[in-house]
């Protein structure tokens, strides 16, 4: 298990992606899986920075660890409570001019990861758990 603690700053997103890539490489994951993990973690951290901390200072902990079914990522923050039910599902069939701008981050996280769940605790903040299942070679 490896954890990176970072300040809630969009300028640190590249550092988070590099952290995820390094762990993924150490775990022997293939490049497509690493890309999926990077994308999901980037989207999660961007949401926390923009919406959780709303541009204010804050801390984000990103943990990547192997689990039985694949690899698990935990993203913890202590910003405002996040309610995923409040995020409208984007219509990815609609022409671009009929879509609202943005709103694709959570959609992408769910697309590239197999399990995505959110929990909020008044004392412990938000915990986002994402799992990418990996088929083992026989």
């Amino acid at each position: 298990m490896a954890t990176l603690s970072l300040c809630a700053d969009l300028g640190d997103l590249a550092t988070v992606r590099e952290f995820v890539a390094n762990i993924g490489t150490d775990l022997g994951l293939d490049a497509d899986v690493i890309y999926a993990l990077q994308l999901a973690v980037d989207e999660a951290c961007s949401n926390v920075i923009n919406h959780g901390y709303r541009g204010q200072a804050g801390r984000i902990d990103v943990t990547v660890e192997p689990v039985e079914e694949g690899v698990q990522v935990l993203v913890r923050d202590w910003g405002g409570a996040f309610d995923p039910h409040g995020v409208p599902t984007p219509n990815v069939e609609a022409p671009l001019e009929e879509r609202r701008l943005g709103g694709l981050g959570l959609f992408l996280m769910r697309k590239v990861m197999d399990d995505v769940s959110f929990a909020f605790d008044a004392g412990g903040g938000n915990t986002l758990k994402m799992v990418k299942r990996i088929r083992r070679r026989e």
């Binding site: 969009l10 300028g11 997103l13 590249a14 992606r17 497509d32 890309y35 990077q38 994308l39 980037d42 989207e43 961007s46 920075i49 923009n50 984007p90 990815v92 069939e93 609609a94 022409p95 671009l96 001019e97 009929e98 879509r99 701008l101 943005g102 694709l104 981050g105 959609f107 992408l108 697309k111």
Partner: protein
């Protein structure tokens, strides 16, 4: 992320935005700003070269959608071409196709993201530069 601009001449002048690096929430606004800059200088057609973009998050998609909207506002039928041109504009509008903003050479993982969010149905992606420029 860096952006360089070149110009190509097809049936109309085309600005080619060559994007280098990773497009994320810290950089996507630079992409919009560059498009606004070339638009303000008179360019009405933009081809975005994604050959050297190794990573694009949803923020990059916001940039693409914003640039498409910027260029769509200038969509004017060529009246000299008569009703055929007007009908073509209506057809494009119905189909949601972006006729003034196109992409070039998206790398497979970026291409996959564009596919997943349904952008490829409305944004043409070319792999041949001459063909791309001639398509405007």
């Amino acid at each position: 992320m860096d952006i360089t601009v070149s110009h190509a001449q097809g049936r109309v002048p085309v600005a080619v935005l060559h994007v280098h690096g990773e497009v994320d929430a810290s950089s996507y606004q630079d992409l919009i700003a560059k498009a606004q800059e070339v638009h303000a200088a008179g360019t009405r057609d933009i081809l975005m070269d994604l050959s050297d973009v190794s990573y694009m998050s949803s923020s990059g998609l916001v940039a693409l959608q914003s640039i498409a909207a910027l260029l769509r506002r200038d969509k004017m039928p060529d009246l000299e071409s008569g009703w055929g041109a007007l009908r073509a504009v209506d057809r494009d509008r119905d189909a949601g196709f972006q006729t003034h903003f196109k992409l070039f050479n998206a790398q497979p993982r970026v291409d996959h993201v564009l596919e997943v969010v349904g952008f490829k149905r409305f944004l043409e992606i070319y792999t041949d530069m001459e063909e791309a420029v001639a398509s405007f």
